[in-house]
Symmetry: C4
Subunit: 211 residues, 4 copies
Amino acid sequence: MDSRRAESFSDGVFAVAITVLVFNLLPIGSHLPLTMKLLGSYWPSYFAYAVSFLTIGIMWINHHTMLAQITRVDRPLLMLNLLLLLGIVALPFPTALVAGHLTAKPAGGQLAVVVYGLDMIFISMAFGSTWLWVAAHADSLGGSSRLRPRTLSTLRFTAGNLGYVAGTLIAAFVSAVAGLVIFGLLGVYYAFEHLPSPAPGVADEGEDSPA
Amino acid sequence: MDSRRAESFSDGVFAVAITVLVFNLLPIGSHLPLTMKLLGSYWPSYFAYAVSFLTIGIMWINHHTMLAQITRVDRPLLMLNLLLLLGIVALPFPTALVAGHLTAKPAGGQLAVVVYGLDMIFISMAFGSTWLWVAAHADSLGGSSRLRPRTLSTLRFTAGNLGYVAGTLIAAFVSAVAGLVIFGLLGVYYAFEHLPSPAPGVADEGEDSPA
Amino acid sequence: MDSRRAESFSDGVFAVAITVLVFNLLPIGSHLPLTMKLLGSYWPSYFAYAVSFLTIGIMWINHHTMLAQITRVDRPLLMLNLLLLLGIVALPFPTALVAGHLTAKPAGGQLAVVVYGLDMIFISMAFGSTWLWVAAHADSLGGSSRLRPRTLSTLRFTAGNLGYVAGTLIAAFVSAVAGLVIFGLLGVYYAFEHLPSPAPGVADEGEDSPA
Amino acid sequence: MDSRRAESFSDGVFAVAITVLVFNLLPIGSHLPLTMKLLGSYWPSYFAYAVSFLTIGIMWINHHTMLAQITRVDRPLLMLNLLLLLGIVALPFPTALVAGHLTAKPAGGQLAVVVYGLDMIFISMAFGSTWLWVAAHADSLGGSSRLRPRTLSTLRFTAGNLGYVAGTLIAAFVSAVAGLVIFGLLGVYYAFEHLPSPAPGVADEGEDSPA
């Protein structure tokens, strides 16, 4: 199977999941007189929206970078990709938990950020597994043979994932806000390139070929 | 008509339908203090989310496999595909019924899983009809002539469909949870390839051509 | 501009609008014990869902057929297409009105179907205008010159549109259900081909060219 | 990276964001007898829907025009594009504020339109930055060298952006409705072409190449 339609479906899921985040904002101020104080009191919703938007957006860019390196997908890759999407699609749920509970009423901010962190750990494990599959089967997936020895970038990628574990532990035992800030910073961290770019040969091929 | 835009539209519908499933999770814990006990009490929602996500995801992969075998679509195929999508788009509805009623308050878990099963039967009948149309008109749809004699795979496919009838009957007369577990297992069953892969000639053509 | 990305955006809007229809079903039975009587009492929701799904789906197929005849879009065509999408995206609103008011509690079924009909008239006028623009500028949009003399099909298309006016009037003065049934039948009517298919030359070109 | 998948993801986000606007209409009249008076009392919702739909739609057309001029995207462009989408996806939130507060019950119409205006300013700044990046790196992004000297169109584009600042100030100090009308007029203003069209050479290339 060529990788084009897997990209198209994934793009759709990423696009919908990132847009669904706005539903955390929609109930704000619908039944009360609208004041700056009321709007301001919803800062956890805006914060959670921004962190989740950044996370899904960066995740999409890296997903893009990953699939650009191959021209075919196989069944196990589709299944791993589906697991990744399962975690992405669920993200509006912990985002809503964080938006509703980060401040004290009703209580539970730390638990909310822990659930958020568990979803992020699930996502980053699924992303890592998908990436390892791509790297290990570069030949049969039409990728460049230069993909395999990139252990350094794989290491850096794994290091980033450990950050989600750290953020979750900090949310559980120290502070919900601190944990969420760490997740935001990890989004910024991943905004810089940590996956190898497509090898020049593949890129050229990508331009000559219809994909 | 070439099959590309039918794929793109179907991908969009699958992507939105799979993402809409998260709305079953969003109301969780919004007005109560967040505790692990509260989160745990919503296990039917997570279970229903996972089964429906898996089902739609696998359905998409098989839809992908099916349309990859042809290069054109005709009007009856578009109509059958629309019926399939009608069932897919409706799936968040029985998922919400299951999420809200699998445990006893308010009652109705068995009826909820029966409605779920009826939608699955509708979907699998629509999928089967679409597949039979593709197989029967492979020539005029630009598919490989090697598609037609695959009676074995068609049989296996039909056998899987009977599983949805069995799960529905078990939900109606025995146990709601047992019925839902069967639907989850059928998702896993379909994760393994039961449609013939595109014949090599078609795949090569697909790669040389710009599509 | 080439017509590909206009198709991709339109496909996305159609796909989301058709999926959003499920939100009319989601609140069903969420706070009451689930019984067949309760499920049955929501028949206007299922009916409205089916009519709107069919309408948007058929509209998408005809949109597909229309844009398949050209290879470029210009600014006025994009604006007309945007008006068409404005009407499509709004359709879940009258669908919800119909679902909530077709039976007597709370009253207003006839008004609900009239609003539904007004949106359908808006949609069919926008579709007709888009189609006339495509037919009138076939040359500059890269379409076949065989597009223009198809006055017969244009007439049949317009005749169908008058059906929406008739259905709206019947809903206003006779019966809400009768009006809605007419809209469903018009969906079935449009399921049969009333736009000229792409001329063979265009179709062949479409296959050789990367589009 | 080639620009195709960035377009596909952006199209998806635009398509979902524009469709999500309908959720502002869905709660209308669900618990009360449906009368023309009731429907009419919701005019701020229809008004806000129309302005936001027009704005996102025109924004999409201009986004289309912008990306059609290049064939590759780089990482900074993807990040700027993500910021633009952040603002677009958030738009249903101020739209809901306007729909709920433009008339006096509950109060806050001016604040609602100010929040709307702030989002529009954010969006137009992100769009302007994205456009400047495209114009400045036309060579490395595979665009035409004729892109750069278009200072006139850049000026006109910037002038339009100042309109959003003016509308926000008018909403803050004079009238909420006047501010919203200005945003609607700006949508109409942008409906006319203010970005340079792709140079003929690029357009031809785009047609010969598989993209």
